[in-house]
């Protein structure tokens, strides 16, 4: 078995044994019903007492063949409203960038917690989309309204 497969099996095992409250993460099923450990869906709960609260934001996590040497790609749905999310939905976060802070020992749990942190603490230095970045910098009222609308869309039951 390759390091990639072994690691992903273990990530799954550890996640099932223990994961942070309010999150979910599971490998997708392929057409023939087996699990594809390199494609996961997950849910990131917004932190309490933030604009993002009371909602769980869906992401997909795509692990490349070179994982864990290379980081996974994390995506929100296309056009997700956040200053550091590209229009395609791809998250721009230093720990997910091989050229920046990615390290092979970073676990799935650390990744999803990092994404949760990013929701309410956008990074000024790496704008990834026009609408959310502009609103965040220039029109905070509009920004908050948009974020709250989005939270309603993904409201947790």
């Amino acid at each position: 078995m390759s390091l990639n497969q072994i690691r992903l099996q273990e990530e799954r095992k550890q996640w099932r044994k223990d994961h942070p409250f309010g999150f979910y993460a599971k490998p997708m099923k392929t057409a023939d019903g087996s699990l594809d450990l390199r494609q996961w869906t997950a849910g990131i709960p917004g932190k309490q007492n933030t604009l993002w609260a009371n909602a769980v934001y869906p992401i997909t996590i795509e692990f490349p063949e070179e994982y864990p040497s290379k980081p996974p790609k994390v995506r929100f749905p296309a056009n997700f409203f956040h200053p550091n999310v590209y229009p395609s939905g791809t998250v721009c976060l230093s720990i997910l960038n091989e050229e920046q802070d990615w390290r092979p020992a970073i676990t799935l749990k650390q990744i999803v917690l990092g994404v949760q942190d990013l929701l309410d603490t956008p990074n000024d230095e790496s704008p990834a989309q026009e609408p959310a970045y502009r609103a965040y910098k220039k029109d905070r009222a509009l920004y908050e309204k948009k974020v709250k609308e989005q939270a309603k869309k993904y409201a947790s039951a």
Binding site: L3, I6, R7, E10, R103
Partner: protein
């Protein structure tokens, strides 16, 4: 009548308080205190015990079906402790010999005690040689000196290594307590992960980087090194997120304590690595 009836003239023969050290005793003292063979013997024995212990550890490491025997390791540890204690006791003797009030006796020219010289010693009031020695010994019972023994123990690398091995055999998942740290600060019950951070599997051939002391499974860190060598930067960052060091092939060494942890863990839990990893 018998002899006892005869009056023996009473004689005022009283030994003086101060007695000069007999010159041949002085010679013995000098000889035994200058005996350099004792520390040499201690050194040789320490080395022999260390070699025997290393051989034992190596042998068990090379034979995965064997378990480390705590009583064997303990007896090596005990022997070393005794030798360190002897070394310490000897250093006390040395300190006494070098003490000015003791060495003053060695250089003094005094006539031996005879009936003729007896009188001249009657009025001398100063401590005898034995009193000075005794005083020095009492002084050495003070905590200041017992700290010296503890320092010697702490400094002894191999003794501490044996100590660590015994600790991880008994507590394979626990952090080795740092004796230099306050015990209060050290009760967090820190656990050591027995899993490679790259594969999240139990180690089987753990290696540690001398630079940052992070441990990885050999084959997995070697894969990282190959990638690093092929990368633009030509370096391999330590895979641990919070670590700023780089990993070099030359800095990797077998993590013996981790190997012992794994083996003890498996023995304690009566399960093999395979059961846990094969899916």
């Amino acid at each position: 009548m018998s002899d006892s009836e005869e009056e023996v003239p009473t004689m005022e023969l009283k030994l003086p308080d101060y007695l000069p050290l007999k010159s041949e005793l002085m010679r013995d003292f000098e000889k035994s205190f200058h005996n350099r063979t004792i520390p040499d013997i201690i050194k040789v024995q320490t080395r022999q015990i260390q070699e025997a212990a290393e051989k034992y550890i190596q042998y068990v490491l090379e034979h995965p079906q064997l378990d480390f025997d705590e009583s064997i390791l303990s007896s090596f540890e005990k022997s070393l402790e005794n030798l360190i204690r002897s070394e310490f006791e000897f250093s006390k003797l040395e300190a006494i010999r070098k003490n000015p009030s003791v060495s003053a006796f060695a250089s003094r020219e005094e006539s031996d005690l005879t009936l003729d010289s007896l009188e001249s010693y009657q009025n001398i009031t100063k401590p005898n040689f034995s009193d000075v020695i005794e005083e020095q010994y009492l002084e050495m019972k003070s905590p200041k000196y017992s700290k010296g023994y503890k320092d010697l123990i702490h400094k002894h690398k191999f003794y501490n290594y044996l100590n660590d091995i015994l600790f991880v055999i008994r507590n394979p998942e626990d952090q080795i307590p740092d004796e230099n740290e306050d015990e209060e600060l050290n009760v967090s019950g820190g656990k050591i992960s027995l899993k490679d951070p790259l594969s999240l599997n139990y180690y089987s051939d753990p290696v540690r980087s001398k630079r940052c002391k992070h441990t990885f499974e050999r084959s997995n860190i070697e894969e990282q090194l190959k990638r690093g060598e092929a990368s633009r930067e030509r370096i391999t960052h330590c895979p641990i997120a919070a670590c700023s060091q780089v990993i070099n092939r030359a800095d990797l060494e077998a993590d013996v304590l981790m190997i012992i942890r794994i083996r003890s863990f498996q023995r304690l839990h009566n399960k093999t690595r395979d059961v846990d990893t094969v899916i």
